[in-house]
Amino acid sequence: MSRQAILLGLLLAAFALAPLVAGPYLLSVLVVVMYFAYVGQAWNIMMGFAGQLSLGHTLYVGLGAYTAAALFVHLGVPAVFGLFASVAVAALAGGVVGSLGFRFGVKGVYFALLTIAFAEFTRILFEHIPGLGGPGGLFLPVGDRSGIDLVHLRGHPLMFYYLILAMTAGIFLLCRRLVRSRLGYTWLAVREDQEAAAALGINVFRAKLAAVMLSAGLTALGGVFFAFYYNNLFPNQAFGMNRSIEIILAPIVGGLGTLFGPILGALILTPLGEGITMATEAMGFKAAGIKQLCYGLALLAIVKFLPDGVWPWARARLGLEPGDGDGEDDR
């Protein structure tokens, strides 16, 4: 067994056993950590692997969340079926954004602007759909919070805890396989040098489109979790620009294009944000936006001191080699 596999096993065991010692508050923080690790991992497929910057990833969170939630609220469709619709809708939206951008050669920052535009106008659209609650929000009926109903995704907070843990572990394994697949290789080639990839006969358009659609579909699953865990959805939250930024911070801080990066980044940022909020409240003053300020400072520090992210640095410290047979990207 390689050292990375051991590290992964330890991490998984720590999270799996945490409910034995942690109280409800700490568990809720850990849920947020894993949620951001999950969504960050999904975003990383597009940016870290295929090199396509999306700054509007809440589009897929929101579409995933609203689709499954609306199906549940209005038609009573259980979440376990609704999530397929969520994935389909988000992947389709990703396909639209990707085809438009890539077909017309929109690259780099301009593509990123396009993703923001889509997220923003979808937010405004959802504020004007009365059936979905508009700006007042869509609320899911809170059911029995003691049981375990994975079909309807109603139940005890611990159920949600283990669900997001399974999702985060699952997406890690999926991404690990992906980077070593033929598709993953073509993504890396496109990320490194699109021209050279095209000259080799790689279908660049298809590779990029696959990255966007896959990333979007997986992000939508995060959205479904978000909807059923929090039981309320507001367009400015579900599709908000600040949420889009929050999603991408973990993989950037942790290390773009690495598999542990999004997890490590979320483990650093979420507790940091929570700690700062608690500390300022304990000191008796309310400082709105202090969390964002600290995130900004953390990001500055990363860019300045560890431009490749925390994980590549930590990996070197732990004596783990990149490409330890773990499908780790060779950065």
Partner: protein, 234 residues
């Protein structure tokens, strides 16, 4: 094998190719020579599907490939070794080669192709796990050629393969091209090194300001006074 007719290419309003016509016979080495900015690279890119020509046709092995996507053209067996080598610097030598075999036509026999490349370039085999960016210029050129061969092309277009290489390496690269030719590969050679490429070529054309101004046997062009004056400084 390749037949280019009246090809026009524009970058915005700037015309890069004006009515370019030439042919590449099967199994030949065809040299395209010309000064900087004559349109040599544009011509290669237009043929390879990296640029879309405004007018004209390109036929390869009986297929009309005008304006087709580069991945379709590669899959028909028309490979290219682009200018400046374009290896993926942060990927290993072996991964670079694997990426050459992503076209459908080459996937099945990728393992055999890899064996062949290792045989042809033992130095790459020694450095298979090394990052491509750490190779010398000559090794990178070999990697670029090997990667192109992974796609099992029937014709290869080389764009300035000797650019930036040491004289010994230039010699070696030309030896490789000659060897591929002897094995039956059809070759298009774009070079600033006019003397060597005309020596090697069965067939050549001279490009000036986007026009083909001369076409003929390599040895004839080598003896032509205008070519000698303009490109060989004689």
């Amino acid at each position: 094998m390749l037949d280019v007719r009246d090809l026009d290419l524009f970058y915005g309003d700037a015309q890069a190719l004006a009515g370019v016509s030439f042919g590449v016979p099967l199994g030949s080495i065809t040299a395209i020579v010309g000064a900087n900015g004559a349109g040599k690279t544009s011509l290669i890119r237009a043929i390879a599907g990296m640029e879309t020509p405004r007018a004209g046709t390109v036929r390869f092995d009986g297929h009309d490939i005008t304006g087709r996507e580069s991945f379709e053209i590669c899959d028909l067996g028309l490979g290219q070794v682009a200018e400046g080598r374009q290896v993926f610097p942060t990927m290993s030598v072996e991964d670079n080669l694997e990426l050459g075999a992503m076209v459908p036509r080459a996937r099945k026999d990728a393992a055999a192709s890899l064996e062949r490349v290792w045989q042809m370039f033992p130095r790459l085999l020694e450095r298979r796990r090394q990052m491509a960016g750490t190779l010398s210029g000559g090794e990178q050129q070999m990697l670029a050629i090997g990667r192109c061969l992974m796609g099992q092309p029937r014709m290869i277009m080389f764009d300035e393969p000797s650019l930036g290489l040491s004289p010994a390496m230039v010699h070696e690269v030309f030896a490789i091209i000659r060897r591929l030719h002897e094995e039956g590969m059809t070759i298009v050679l774009v070079e600033q090194n006019v003397a060597v490429s005309l020596h090697m070529a069965d067939h050549a054309c001279v490009l000036e300001n986007g026009h083909v101004v001369m076409e003929g046997r390599g040895s004839d062009l080598l003896g032509d006074d205008r070519v000698r004056a303009a490109y060989l400084g004689l």
